[in-house]
Symmetry: C2
Subunit: 465 residues, 2 copies
């Protein structure tokens, strides 16, 4: 009999499970019936591309890689603007807002996340205030930017800063409110985060308020926001307000169905992405993406990851396990790996990267570290593109193994994050990294790279420049 897979959620997580299953559909003789249910109107959207659209690099519609028709034409029951109201794991059905119940053989929960909106904003009817979670939000923000003079962003993570850069680029006076002491605390220690802050202040004129303050009020005119009030009364002019803080796993449906969540707030899964219910894991229910928690690759504690890149791996684990189960083959756990959250973001011309734990996260986990920071050009100074890069490396003080890397520079950051992730996964020690040959062409690299300098500094050796 035809097997039915129902995917709840049409962000990157749901779409990538769908795409992986489509690619392997022909392996299943009895056929594979695929349904995807999503709230938004669109098909497959590159949400990570939205901040660049606001910056004017291209139109928002360009981020829609495939319209729903693309999936409908392949025989997928692809339903947009569809609200799921209940997951019934006993009846093995999914109920949607109009009352219809869809039966499933395999259920995939990819319900994503939602920002934590301050109370003062949640209850306003003023226009110009938006979260920044999907393309519908992007369109609202774009509309609010029209004729605006002042912008306000609540949140100092990647999305908040990318939104701020978009506003500043478009000439708006831009203020960012975030917690102390520094930017991007999930990826960068304060010393590194301060480099980003200085760049955004100097190159883009963005103003930062990093303090334990919250939005306590909003004021408007003709139904549009004109200012926000923070803390005990400071008023900041704002014609457009973006709320991009505290991205919480969207787990309501799962919790109602009795599925376990962890301390991080995310759905608990095993290595095959099966969800947990009571004492067992369900062979036919999977969860992935921003609504789930991952196992940290350094501390082995559960935490959130919420990166599109994490989803790409998880979607293969889900699809491979569904196919394997249909074929009567064993579950695949080994294809999943503890998460190192390799992160990269272009923020107003500066590229920020990190992988593994930060110094702060290591301290929280009780890990003693050796750390080294170095700044160096990425290639010989007489070649075009010879820009500086600052790298901070963290080694476990006991084993000398690399456990974290942070970078700020204008190029080569993404690739270095991938390289250092390999080094962390491989358990490379400072001594080994120091004596690892690196490829050299003076127009592309230095004979002694910043990685070596940072490593030697962590080892207490003075680098030969």
């Amino acid at each position: 009999m035809v097997k039915k897979v129902v995917i709840v959620g049409g962000g990157i997580a749901g779409i990538y499970v769908l795409r992986n299953l489509l690619a392997r559909r022909e392996e299943i003789e009895e056929g594979l019936d695929l349904t995807l249910l999503k709230r938004e109107r669109s098909g497959w959207v590159s949400t990570c591309g939205l901040p660049f659209a606001l910056r004017g690099w291209y139109e928002i519609k360009r981020t829609e890689i495939n319209e729903p028709k693309f999936f409908l034409d392949q025989g997928v029951d692809f339903r947009t603007e569809t609200e799921v109201t209940k997951l019934d794991l006993e009846a093995r059905t999914v109920k949607i807002a109009d009352g219809e119940e869809l039966a499933y053989d395999y259920l995939v929960i990819a319900t994503g996340r939602e920002p934590s909106v301050p109370e003062a904003v949640a209850n306003t009817e003023l226009e110009g205030i938006s979260t920044f979670n999907n393309e519908d939000d992007a369109r609202k923000i774009e509309a609010a930017m029209e004729g605006a003079t002042n912008a306000f962003v609540r949140g100092r993570g990647i999305i908040g800063l990318q939104a701020a850069v978009a506003f500043a680029t478009k000439g708006l006076n831009t203020t960012v409110l975030g917690g102390p002491p520094s930017l991007l605390p999930g990826s960068l220690d304060p010393d590194m985060g301060d480099i980003v802050k200085k760049w955004l202040e100097e190159k883009h004129g963005i103003r930062f308020i990093l303090a334990r303050k919250e939005i306590t009020g909003v004021k408007g005119e003709n139904g549009r926001v004109k200012s926000v009030v923070i803390g005990d009364g400071e008023e900041i002019p704002a014609d457009v307000v973006v709320i991009a803080r505290g991205m919480r796993p969207n787990v309501g449906l799962a919790v109602d169905a009795g599925i376990a969540t962890g301390d991080s707030g995310g759905i608990v899964t095993d290595g095959a992405m099966h969800v947990r219910r009571g004492r067992g894991y369900l062979r036919d229910v999977f969860a992935l993406g921003d609504c789930t928690e991952v196992i940290d690759g350094i501390t082995y504690r559960p935490r959130l990851s919420q990166l599109a890149s994490t989803v790409v791996v998880q979607s293969k684990v889900v699809a491979d396990n569904i196919i394997s189960d249909i074929k009567g083959q064993p579950a695949l756990y080994s294809i999943s790996v503890p998460c190192l959250s390799p992160t990269v973001a272009e923020i107003g011309g500066l590229i920020v990267g990190s992988v593994g734990v930060t110094g702060e996260a290591a301290t929280r986990a009780g890990i003693k570290t050796l750390s080294g920071t170095a700044t160096k050009l990425v290639k010989a100074r007489y070649f075009p593109g010879a820009k500086p890069l600052t790298m901070k490396l963290l080694f476990d003080a006991y084993s000398h193994k690399l456990i974290g890397a942070q970078m700020v520079g204008e190029s080569t950051v993404a690739e270095r994050v991938n390289e250092l992730q390999m080094a962390i996964r491989a358990g490379m020690t400072a001594e080994e990294i120091r004596n690892t040959e690196r490829c050299y062409d003076p127009s592309l690299s230095l004979l002694i790279d910043v990685t070596i300098d940072a490593t030697e500094k962590a080892m207490g050796i003075t680098p030969v420049y």
Copy 2:
């Protein structure tokens, strides 16, 4: 008593040993007396930067990073234009051309390599013909380019191709003669080498003759070369001729002193870079760089590496061992690693990279491989710099471990070589690489990178694009 170190050779190898020893000199209470003997007139030259100087990116003199004075001022007995005539390992002296004998406590052999010059060229007195091994050669070539119309390059390795690009950039009709079947055979399999050939033909108008032919004659006018004759009579116009083939280890002095060389022609060393003589290794004589052979990191067979990057690691091994020995500490073997020769080269706007074994080298060693090749943009197509990259990955068919990577593209190649070298050293399998998360920002990378596509192709899986 002050310990005396004599370094023979002033290329990157000799200079980097010197620089590492200078950096650690203060650790030795009794003092360290440093001598470097070199043939050329210059101090520390970035020889890898010379081809770009010929292309007009900067003056040749810019490649001299430090003049001899820089080292003399630090108390180094830095002798240029000095020919060493004998190494006496019994007397522990080095004899130079004027008859002087310098005593040493530690001897470092860094005598480099020399191209194999065809007989027909070796004996000519015509001007305009040169090897391309150092800055003196570069000056000769630059002089010959003045007013020239036609250029001829013997050699299809990195140096030969970079010279050809320099000539073509300067408007010379350029012909390259090399062996069959394809370019850069040490780094690329024929399918990948052909991409480079096509690029150089189409973008730079370079003509290639890849055949088992040798230069059999040269013709001249007024003491200057006007053409070369190849094989049994084809005459090719040439006002400038560069010989850049068959780089042989320069081991005459070492062999005369009884030091062992291997099948590759290079000096044999152990992991601490001690040379072998008779049945033993000498604690006080080291060799490194282009004159030595390395242990291959995949086959564990000896071979040549001859990269500046190899020298950087070897120079630390030599310096650390000298310091360790002076201090009465044990020799350091573990800091040396089998060589994977991570290679990158910019060749006329195209960047070529490789690490580990090629398919050809694997076949020669009897290794059965799984290979996958994929071409993809390095980032989303609507971002500036979204250029294609072709990657070929080779996995050991038995263990599925990555053993080689080859790349051709316009960006991110150097960094990817470093990443994949980490993966090879770590013993990562195709399955592990496939399911390794990679950092993502659409302006910098794709959600599913070409590395994943190439890996999945090698595994027989159709990539989800």
